[in-house]
Symmetry: C2
Subunit: 305 residues, 2 copies
């Protein structure tokens, strides 16, 4: 089913480019209307096709959180990269319990395709981000080179960025899938091993008929173990603060990602995971490392031209 052209809700000039908010009904979200922001650098306003960096936000956030608080636009403008900020879940599906908890349901889509009956019609953020959102961007005829896409995110969105990147990397390259491929992936304080932490256990138990076992296909630590011998194809950057309460509560488990990386024989330069003293889970942490993440993706996106 072809996507309708999204409706433009607003545009704000910023850093020589502009950020626009769009709304569109999404097939993968059961027809619910969803919103997303797109930042176009000046190069794009001048008519040049630019590469695309998707940002996936964390629990309780929406499409505005990162453009407002992340500090990403400045460096994306300097590098000539477009940024795309989708929402974190469907909204208004009307499912019982959807708005009960801050870490499940609304604002907590976990970037998967739900298989439990109650959720499977609407909670398909995996399909939305990898297939429908690129189609919506194409329908808008924006000056984007979607063949050069990368992805990053925070917390639940860091989990999303890692798993979408790894699943695309692991899927057969011969397939003519319409799903997005990503040239690089980075994450701030990601939920790196969700089948082994309370947030992930709750999400997978709720959304997936097969629970945590089915959840392994959406678990970065499980997926990275399958990358043995692919060191040169992998570009992952992860930063975590040791002052992060959720790191301390073992919701993030970057140590498990590191162990899986090492067991798969992948190098720290292919999968860089750095712990930073004092930093916490907030956007004060994210904005600090935003310039380095944009630079990391710019190198991958520009090398591909």
């Amino acid at each position: 089913m072809p996507s309708a052209t999204p409706e433009k809700l607003s545009t704000n000039a910023s850093f020589g480019g502009e950020i626009s908010k769009f709304a569109a009904p999404a097939h993968s979200l059961g027809g619910l209307k969803t919103q997303f922001n797109v930042f176009l650098p000046k190069e794009a306003l001048d008519g040049n096709k630019v590469p695309v960096l998707y940002y996936l936000a964390g629990l309780t956030c929406n499409e505005d959180t990162a453009p407002w608080k992340g500090g990403f636009l400045r460096d994306a403008a300097a590098e000539g990269i477009a940024l795309v900020f989708p929402d974190t879940s469907p909204r208004g599906a009307g499912i019982e319990g959807e708005d009960k908890d801050w870490d499940f349901g609304t604002g907590a889509g976990f970037y998967l395709n739900a298989t439990r009956d109650a959720w499977s019609k609407h909670y398909n953020m995996y399909d939305f981000i990898t297939s429908e959102l690129p189609a919506l961007l194409t329908a808008l005829s924006l000056p984007l080179d979607l063949s050069r896409s990368s992805i990053f995110g925070h917390s639940m969105g860091g989990h999303g960025a890692l798993t979408l990147y790894l699943k695309a990397l692991l899927s057969p390259s011969s397939s003519s899938s319409s799903s997005a491929k990503y040239l690089s992936c980075s994450a701030f304080a990601p939920i790196a091993n969700p089948t082994k932490c309370p947030w992930g256990e709750k999400a997978f138990g709720g959304y997936l008929a097969g629970g945590a076992d089915e959840g392994k296909e959406y678990d970065a630590t499980e997926l990275i173990a399958q990358l043995k011998g692919k060191d040169k194809d992998v570009k992952i950057l992860v930063d975590v603060g040791t002052g992060d309460q959720f790191y301390q509560q073992k919701q993030l488990l970057p140590e498990n990602l590191i162990a899986a990386r090492d067991a798969a024989g992948l190098s720290p330069s292919a999968v860089s995971v750095t712990l930073h003293e004092r930093y916490d889970h907030s956007y004060y942490f994210i904005s600090t490392f935003a310039p380095a993440h944009i630079k990391f993706h710019a190198q991958a996106l520009k090398a591909a031209k």
Copy 2:
């Protein structure tokens, strides 16, 4: 009456430094508790006294708006400058009509000292910012060099920054007033001539017994006319977007500030006012010009050492 030491509510590491939120009862606000954020760059954490840049936020905003959305911390960290973000008004005074409108009362203190009976006990943000806040910072024993202070702000806070700066500049230098002096002043989309626009007329009519006539002492365009011959003492930077709906609605009136500057024989290098095409009133505009504003203040603050 000496100020009590403020209570620290939180601290977040950011850009090598840290931002902390404090709360304290304020005499100038009728004893109401108020909150403010202080960003200390790494130099301060290392024990060095650093200069201070105050930021006054606009209508409906609070002490968190600019640290979250302004993009100021990155450049302040690079320049070794502390940032202080107070709230925009008292909160919870319980005055009739205080929460009725978004442009008057709560979130809309207009950085003046109220003289109308109902408001004069609590609505004294002028005294709070210029006298009590520096005393609270001193009580905290933070590594700040308050003799090197500058000020900036947005919209109503741009009005506040301009008027606090100009009133200090115009007050007799022989006075041993405890009020802050500022080495430089900048504003994003300030309400530059409040006695001549609807927002200012409403605020001055509500807070001041003498209405708009009394309001002239809180009007940047009125104050700048008194600076004839003081060109070399003045350091003001103003940026406004022509796509700003409030500029278009004649709430900001930068053209009146320019005319008063020119009539007073002040140079555009002493009072720089620039209109930028496409930009609006939002933090997408502010963050774009944030680096230039921090650089402007850093030059003044460092030259004073």
